[in-house]
């Protein structure tokens, strides 16, 4: 068993520096690597490019990095719910590349799986396809989209083991699995880190080979954006 366990978020984020490109898992505030984000904020590194489906809210998630102006560019599919983001974007301080959500997922997966590019129908005929190669297959048009390149991927899982194996919970899974192994170094933080051999090999969502460092996260806030409930009758 190849041991991926590190003892702190500090050790897990060793090697981060200015101008790097990061992938960050999560959808909205669900399944975001809370510990890694805090460490990035504390590190004061800047001029970052962040590939993440969303950009957090003003006081949580990637919003914390935006507030300290550490991010140069966001690559996302949806960036609402964040006033500071809006201010920086409209003022031109922040570069934003918006891409379709499925394309975002598959450009990560392409990097993970060693594919240089994919043909997707998403965005054909729209400004997303401008300047890109398009091609017809069987009468339908597709856009050529390239695999991402990133220095670090920061993901959050529910359970993990020393071998780097990961299991996600519910919709907190989202982009986390497709980002594993899609960057030079994948850092996984988990709510519960167990010894190798504890998890069922049949029920691993992401095998440890896609993960370089794993650590036990702490103080998870797991904030809810839209608390919708029904009344018990």
């Amino acid at each position: 068993m190849i041991n991926k366990k590190v003892n702190s978020v500090k050790e897990a984020t060793e090697g981060i520096s200015d101008n790097m490109t990061f992938m960050l898992g999560g959808f909205g505030l669900s399944g975001i690597p809370e510990n890694a984000i805090k460490a990035l904020v504390d590190s004061n590194i800047k001029e970052l490019t962040c590939i993440s489906n969303n950009a957090g809210v003003d006081d949580f998630g990637l919003g914390l990095l935006l507030k300290k102006r550490q991010i140069k560019k966001m690559v996302s599919s949806y960036v609402g719910e964040n006033d500071e983001f809006e201010r920086q974007m409209l003022s031109g301080e922040l570069d934003v590349e918006l891409i379709p959500q499925g394309t975002l997922a598959e450009r990560c997966r392409a990097a993970q799986a060693g594919f240089p590019a994919i043909f997707t129908p998403a965005g054909y005929g729209t400004e997303v396809a401008e300047g890109k190669e398009v091609r017809e297959f069987d009468g339908k048009m597709y856009v050529l989209e390239h695999a991402f390149k990133a220095d670090f991927a920061f993901v959050k899982a529910w359970k993990g083991d020393d071998a780097g194996n990961l299991i996600f919970k519910g919709t907190a899974r989202n982009f986390n699995p497709v980002m594993c192994g899609a960057a030079t170094i994948t850092v996984a933080e988990v709510e519960e880190l167990v010894p190798a051999g504890t998890l069922d090999p049949n029920q691993i969502h992401i095998p440890g080979i896609f993960v370089q460092r794993i650590f036990q996260g702490k103080d998870y806030e797991k904030r809810i954006e839209q608390r919708t409930v029904r009344v018990r009758e």
């Binding site: 949806y78 729209t126 919970k169 919709t171 699995p177 029904r230």
Partner: protein, 217 residues
Amino acid sequence: MLDKIGIAKRIAKEVQDGYYVNLGIGIPTLVANYVRDDIEVEFQSENGVLGMGPFPFEGEEDADIINAGKQTITTLPGASFFDSAMSFSMIRGQHVHLTILGAMEVAENGDIANWKIPGKMVKGMGGAMDLVASAENIIVAMMHTNRAGESKLLKRCSLPLTGVGCVKKIVTNLAVIEVTDKGFKLLERAPGVSVEEIVKATEGQLTIDGDIPEMTI
């Protein structure tokens, strides 16, 4: 004339037995409440869940179980969770039968614009571009006109497009309209709405073929 709930109720009638359905934010989300009880339908949300149920009871919300609108949800028996790549495999691979979403504009050739207004803050397209480029059956839920009273059913979209030639049907507060090779075709009038009112509110080519029935919801 229909209100938002009326639009949702009318669209709910388009949902057929055995359908996997993706609902957009807003009016489309309401559709789930009005689908007939005697058919089997499953709702997919592109953030990674199939078999969504109602909102949780108070105190049972789970930050790890949400829909694409970031709302806390529950799941029904037979549900499953999956990652974003598999979620869009369902959509792109046309395993999801029906997509219902809102729009700012629809053109008579089926083009749709629903993600960007130049000069305004752009929040992004989320999964909309994947959905409209992939789904075989796309129904748009929207008001027939904008706040300025201008038609949203146009000859050509004026806003940046989300997808081309993809919308199959539009349900508005005034009418049910099909998108055909020859442009819009009026299928049904909303209760109390005349054909003339619909014609007036529709900028794009609108075919009216014989008597147009009033819809039942």
